[in-house]
């Protein structure tokens, strides 16, 4: 199985001093086993997250209206739109944080049954300051287990979390303080949390700041691998039109309702897209756009 995620080039295999070769090999075997254990439900293409006639109101203003989407497993669906277009409200509706009218359900098209929608969510940022006494272990354990994190660490759980983190090349981060992580490292930890247990739908809110261009690119690469390995739908709210054009399987242009939906090229060449973003160099051919 070929699978090497090295989001920042200084992953565990990146730098090795001579003589450490045995260690390296051991690590490779270890990783392989982890993958075998945790992955391996290939996307089937029959699972859909169906949103039908979604409507969200806040007081008297309508934030979203007549939003209908069908999001396939094994695909990366990117939502774009300007500020205030209702992108985060759409996410909040799926997370059931705001009340809505309409339908959001998880369907199996093979036999048309409705399943439980298990959502994994990667937020834009955490409410955590630089010196907060929270280690990566604490963060992951608190979100994904009932083992109280203020008591002694559980050896077994520690190993389990390390394995989980290693899927995103984050096993070396486990004892670090969350406040000390770089933007990219934090994103990998958050992905670990979102994917424990493996969700049907992974929702990601792309951070606007804190991650450089390379970091973002690697993030999209990770998503690309995820959608091939797991049976899940991925929704990404993106602020980077250029990378969207490169990696998205399908793009949704949102402004209170779905203005345009389809392949990245189609959407970005459309009249609606131009109306929202203008000609200000946001088309993928042009350099450095859309942020």
């Amino acid at each position: 199985m070929k699978k090497e995620m090295k989001p920042d080039g200084r992953g565990t295999q990146g730098i090795r001093i001579k003589g450490n070769f045995v260690e390296e090999e051991k690590q490779a075997v270890y990783k392989k086993n982890v993958y075998k254990k945790l992955l391996k439900i290939k996307p089937c293409g029959f699972h859909r997250v169906v949103i039908d006639k979604l409507r969200v109101k806040a007081g008297t203003t309508t934030i979203l209206e007549n939003v209908s989407l069908s999001i396939a497993c094994g695909a990366l669906t990117v939502i774009i739109g300007k500020n205030g277009a209702g992108k985060s409200t759409l996410i909040k509706s799926i997370l059931k944080e705001v009340s809505y009218e309409g339908l959001i359900e998880f369907r199996d098209l093979k036999d048309n049954t409705i399943g439980n929608l298990r959502v994994g969510y990667v937020p834009q940022h955490l409410n955590i300051e630089k010196n907060a006494p929270v280690s990566v272990y604490d963060l992951v354990a608190a979100y994904t287990t009932n083992v109280p994190v203020f008591l002694r660490k559980s050896r077994k759980l520690y190993e389990e979390i390390r394995e989980r983190l290693s899927l995103f090349d984050g096993e070396t981060l486990i004892d670090k303080q969350v406040g000390d992580l770089s933007g990219g490292e934090l994103q990998r930890v958050l992905l670990t949390i979102a994917c424990t247990p493996v969700p049907n739908l992974l929702i990601l809110d792309e951070p606007v700041s804190g991650i450089d261009r390379n970091g973002r690119k690697l993030f999209y690469k990770i998503l690309n691998e995820l959608k091939q390995q797991y049976d899940m739908s991925i929704i990404l709210v993106s602020h980077d039109l250029e990378l969207t054009a490169e990696y998205a399987d399908s793009v949704v242009l949102l402004d209170r309702t779905v203005l345009k939906e389809g392949k990245a090229k189609e959407v970005m060449a459309s009249e609606e897209f131009r109306e929202v973003f203008g000609y200000l160099g946001t088309l993928p051919e042009h350099k450095g756009g859309g942020e």
């Binding site: 944080e97 010196n131 608190a142």
Partner: protein, 280 residues
């Protein structure tokens, strides 16, 4: 149980323990301080320092309501009022209409004003002014027992709810997506804080109760790297300042509460400097 602890304390070669009231005070401190050390970690985590302060102030109103309706045991009315007050504040806090510290401040001043207005009617306020500073030396064995009970309740609650509360504080949407009952836990926590504050306010006093909740956790936060250290340091600092504060108050003839806060504050500054020195 109480007798046993009393006998153990008798064995200690400490002069001030010859008095029963000092013995009881020490026992109370040994229960209240770890309790506050634990609770404080979450209050500081979730940035609720101002919230718990407002809760403390609502003790006046609770007592006033009790007096007004002729409830013999004002403890009951204080606790009832505090629970309602806490839930109301929490509700408004999450509405995001006005910034939460403004809302809390408005309600806090309102409840103090209502309380003072009622209690000071007919010039009777001096009767209640003890509530301001508290008097740990007047605690009775029965009251120590109920404090001990609530310590146990808190520990159980902590084991069940800490992970969830911690997660909510860091990102509530993420917590919600993980199936954590956000609203329930959040409300349960403020109710618990309300009950504990009201049960201990007579001994600690409205003016300094918040300092005791916040200082140990804030000091621990300066030097802790993860949640285990955070709790350990917070409880240790809290108990240490409690015991040392009580002893100092006896020998210096100063009220116990303020002494306790002074010790905790000094520890806070020491840890603050330590962080600056070692972590940059």
């Amino acid at each position: 149980m109480m007798e046993l602890v009393g006998k153990v304390l008798d064995l200690l070669p400490l002069e001030f323990l010859e008095y029963d009231f000092m013995k009881y005070a020490l026992m109370a401190v040994l229960i209240i301080t770890p309790l506050f050390g634990i609770l404080g970690t979450m209050i500081v985590n979730n940035r609720m320092a101002f919230f718990s302060d407002a809760l403390g102030h609502s003790a006046f109103t609770g007592m006033a309501v009790g007096v007004l309706f002729g409830i013999g045991n004002t403890n009951v009315s204080m606790m009832l009022f505090a629970v309602v007050f806490a839930l109301l504040l929490n509700f408004i806090r999450h509405k995001n209409i006005v910034s939460s510290d403004t809302v809390i401040s408005v309600f806090s001043s309102l409840s103090v004003a209502v309380g003072l207005a009622i209690l000071s009617k007919n010039g009777n306020f001096s009767k209640y002014s003890a509530l301001m500073v508290g008097d740990i030396l007047s605690i009775t064995p029965g009251e120590i027992r109920s404090l001990f009970l609530i310590l146990i309740v808190t520990l159980v609650f902590w084991c069940v709810a800490y992970n969830g509360l911690h997660s909510i504080g860091i990102n509530s949407s993420l917590a919600k997506s993980k199936g954590i009952p956000v609203k329930l836990l959040d409300n349960a926590f403020v109710v618990l804080v309300a009950l504990i504050v009201m049960l201990s306010i007579r001994w600690v006093g409205i003016l300094i109760i918040n300092a005791l909740l916040i200082l140990p956790a804030a000091a621990a936060r300066n030097i802790a790297a993860d949640n285990r250290e955070y709790h350990l340091f917070s409880v240790m600092i809290s108990v240490f300042s409690g015991v040392l504060g009580l002893i100092l108050s006896y020998y210096l003839n100063v009220a116990a509460g303020p002494m306790l806060v002074l010790v905790a504050a000094i520890i806070f500054f020491i840890t603050f400097l330590a962080r600056r020195l070692f972590r940059g």
